[in-house]
Amino acid sequence: MSVEQWATLSDQAFDGAAVVLALAWIAHLVEYAASRKVAYAASPVTVGAAAAPTPTELPEPERRATLFGRIGVALSVLGTGVLGLGVLARGTAAQRVPWGNMYEFATTGVFLAMVLYLVLVKLQGIAWLGPVVTGFAVTVLGLSLLVYTPVGPLVPALDSHWLVLHVVAAAIAGGAFVVGAGASAFFLVKSRAERRTPVDQRHGYLWRLPTADSMDRLAYRVHAFAFPIWTFAALIAGPIWAYYAWGRFWGWDPKEVWAFITWTVYAGYLHARATAGWRGKGAAIIALIGFLTFVFNFVGINLFGSGLHAYAF
């Protein structure tokens, strides 16, 4: 295949992945709608391929909810596969790692977030995060078309081995932040519901989900995974590269400022989980703020257009 064909394949794969993931999202929304009237016992059922009871044993609405949950996960797997094909084709077409501009970072980042999510669906049964994660993936894939960049070579400043390490680490950490933010957000909703809803009124989607405590634990694990990677991306690989490219390892460029803010806020999250009065709700809110700073750094700072990261990640 020629470079142009690979580039076309990549574009088509991204479009296809966006459509499939949108369908996965819709399936999860149907799952939500179908389970609205279902009453659940006090002990929660874990949603997920392995843990869910076989559909035939269940009453109709719950059967439908479980079915659509599974369809959502299956479509997510398919969409992620297609997305991975797109990333691969993009790299083949450009003959370099496929994260050299904002568009490529967004698509590769969404791919990594989806892979992490699906691995955790398999290992930890977190398919309940499906609506948030697929929704986020579709949104980012859609918005990435606004910064669409045809396949092309790198500018000299990006021509460095550190591009591979620095950017991919940032993307992996970003993918984990997405999953972690989803878990923290669900935790806030669920723990509030657990506090306020009498046991006999617990029916609907929320009660299909695991306990708030296990959501909180998942959020912690994902963030604990992401934080050292972010540390490496933002505070080790980034400064080393900045030293070679710009002659200083830290210069409070707006992108650096916000990478530092994100790091500090997530460090705050890890501490908050061990501080009386901040565990649970407080920590979860800090995690969500951390996620917002990450998103702002990627979107807001790039659109401001100032600073040395003008070629934009």
Binding site: A157, Y220, V257, H271, G277
Partner: protein
């Protein structure tokens, strides 16, 4: 600031505290986890304005532009240090307090940790079945053999192991107890991480005290020697001495610049490469160099980076008699991605003095209204466009002036025959006679220039090592699992019963499986009949970690 609850957070609320107690109370507040957390969040918040307000250290030009646009804000912003946030007293106060809080936490914890390292693994619990995971079995084996097996099994799993001899005293008489603990490195990692943060701060602080950074524009065919006067801008730390500058000099032979001419990236940079020779010290032989973006030149602990490039039109000015009064390449500063570049030429040898102010476009395009614009960044078809000014350049009073702008106070613009300001556009090789016998200006060609950044960042290797050590420590503190295990041999109703229990001090492990393994190892051929944590957990409809939770001391 270290991941744990700290003791002594709640002070007595007794009225008037003596000064010493008050100081103690303040100190405890400062080193409390809550304060550390608030300081962390405050630090994040305090960093925000510096990304919106232009910073002197980042982009001094942008600060001037901001000041011109919002003159009414300048005074307040300056007073608040908003143009230099990261060196401002309030920002410094936050991170210094954070560091004090951190050190105040690390030191006592280091002592606690040192004691824990020397102490024996903790005593066995009275009720093994209340531990998150436990098991028991009968055996015919000799109690000493069982204890021996348990010690070996736990040592193989890298536990630190200790044993209690059998006793008939105390609440639970037994024939022998093995107590074991591992995962000590978690707290070590935690301490290393926090010490490293101090290390990074010290490295950055000392580095910036002794370091320097400056930039200089060097035109092809010209050179640069490393002395203060040769820099266009220069910043250095408080303890830096100009005599510390290594005495090297650089001669730039070629600045190779190319841009993508076709394809989707048309106009994007393709190659920037500065080629020339460097003389490490006077009277030493010159060595060739080849600096590209991402590949600086290293001399004497100093690095020379290629951080920019641009065009210097070669302009010759003659007076009305045809004598050359000014000749040479004058760097014009690029202002946009297509290298529309602005610059100034000051000729003080004529009377009246002459100033030319204008711009250069490397590849000329003409809009419908006659405006000249740059259509491509390479110098394929350049145009030099300028206004001429006559009068006094204002150089005589000795006050410093930018070489990139004219002080127009005592200058008047040269006008054309129509009485309008005369805009002069010259292509490469063209020349023009100034009206009124003011001489002539010719645009003879273009040379490329390189903008080099010269920097010395002492202790950068130390800072990097601290950052890497910090990350390794962080990994340890997040992923190592401190665990405890006990094996107890008792005689119950004439039978020898072996009990096994484990405790994971952070959540998330499948302790049940571990206990089953340990039971198998200790029992040899004995038949396990006990309830492992996993079994109990299954019966309770929860996973093993669900049981372990609730006794989490940490995460």
């Amino acid at each position: 600031m270290v991941l744990d609850e700290r003791l002594g957070q709640r002070p007595d609320t007794a009225p008037p505290l003596p000064a010493r107690q008050f100081a103690r109370w303040i100190w405890r507040q400062l080193v409390s986890m809550r304060t550390a957390l608030l300081l962390l969040l405050l630090l994040a918040l305090a960093a925000v304005p510096g990304s919106f307000v232009p910073q002197v250290d980042v982009d001094a030009q942008a600060v001037f532009a901001f000041a011109e646009k919002y003159p009414y804000l300048v005074g307040t912003f300056e007073a608040l240090g908003l143009f230099d946030v990261y060196a401002s007293p309030w920002f410094s106060a936050i991170y210094l307090l954070l560091m004090v809080s951190l050190v105040g936490c690390i030191i006592p914890r280091t002592f606690v940790y040192a004691r824990a390292l020397r102490a024996r693994p903790p005593k066995a619990p009275r009720h093994f079945d209340r531990m998150p995971a436990s098991g028991a079995f009968d055996t015919d084996a000799d109690p000493d053999v069982v204890v021996g097996r348990a010690v070996r099994a736990l040592r193989n799993q890298r536990y630190r192991v200790d044993r209690d001899a059998g006793t008939s005293e105390g609440p639970v008489p037994h024939l022998g107890v093995v107590r074991a603990e591992k995962g000590y490195l978690r707290e070590a990692g935690n301490l290393v991480f926090h010490v490293s943060l101090v290390g990074v701060l010290v490295g950055v602080a000392v580095g910036s005290l002794f370091g320097y950074r400056g930039s200089a524009i060097v035109v092809e065919g010209e050179g640069f020697s490393n002395t203060l006067t040769q820099y266009d801008d220069f910043t250095s730390g408080a303890l830096f001495e100009p005599s510390d500058l290594p005495p090297f000099s650089v001669a730039l032979e070629e600045m190779n610049v190319s841009f993508w001419i076709d394809g989707t990236q048309r106009g994007a940079p393709r190659l920037f490469e500065a080629v020339g020779s460097v003389t490490p010290a006077p009277e030493e032989p010159a060595e060739p160099f080849d600096i590209t973006v991402n590949n600086p030149l290293q001399i004497d602990g100093t690095s020379v980076f290629l951080v920019g490039q641009g065009y210097a039109p070669i302009v010759t000015v003659r007076d009305s008699d045809g004598e050359v009064v000014s000749s040479g390449a004058v760097p014009f500063l690029p202002a946009d991605p297509t290298y529309t570049s602005n610059g100034v030429l000051k000729i003080s040898a004529t009377d009246p003095q002459l100033g030319l102010e204008g711009f250069l476009v490397p590849t000329t395009g003409v809009l419908d209204d006659g405006t000249i614009v740059s259509v491509f960044p390479s110098a394929f078809d350049p145009t030099l466009s300028f206004f001429a000014w006559e009068g006094d350049l204002g150089l005589a009073d000795g006050s410093p002036q930018s070489v990139y702008s004219l002080d127009k106070e005592q200058l008047t613009r040269v006008e054309g025959a129509d009485g309008e300001a005369l805009r002069i556009n010259l292509g490469r090789g063209e020349s023009v006679e100034l009206p009124g016998g003011g001489g002539s200006v010719s645009f003879d060609g273009i040379r490329n220039f390189a903008r080099f950044q010269v920097a010395q960042a002492p202790l950068k290797e130390f800072t990097l090592a601290a950052a890497v050590a910090g990350m390794v420590g962080l990994l340890g503190s997040l992923f190592l699992r401190p665990r405890r295990a006990w094996v107890r041999v008792r005689e119950v109703d004439g039978r020898t019963v072996v009990e096994v229990a484990r405790l994971d001090r952070v959540s998330g492990a499948d302790l049940g499986a571990d206990v089953d393994d340990l039971v198998a190892a200790v029992s040899g051929e004995g038949v396990a009949r006990g309830t492992s944590g996993k079994d109990r957990a299954r019966r309770a409809g929860l996973s093993g970690e669900g049981v372990a939770r609730g006794r989490d001391p940490e995460s």
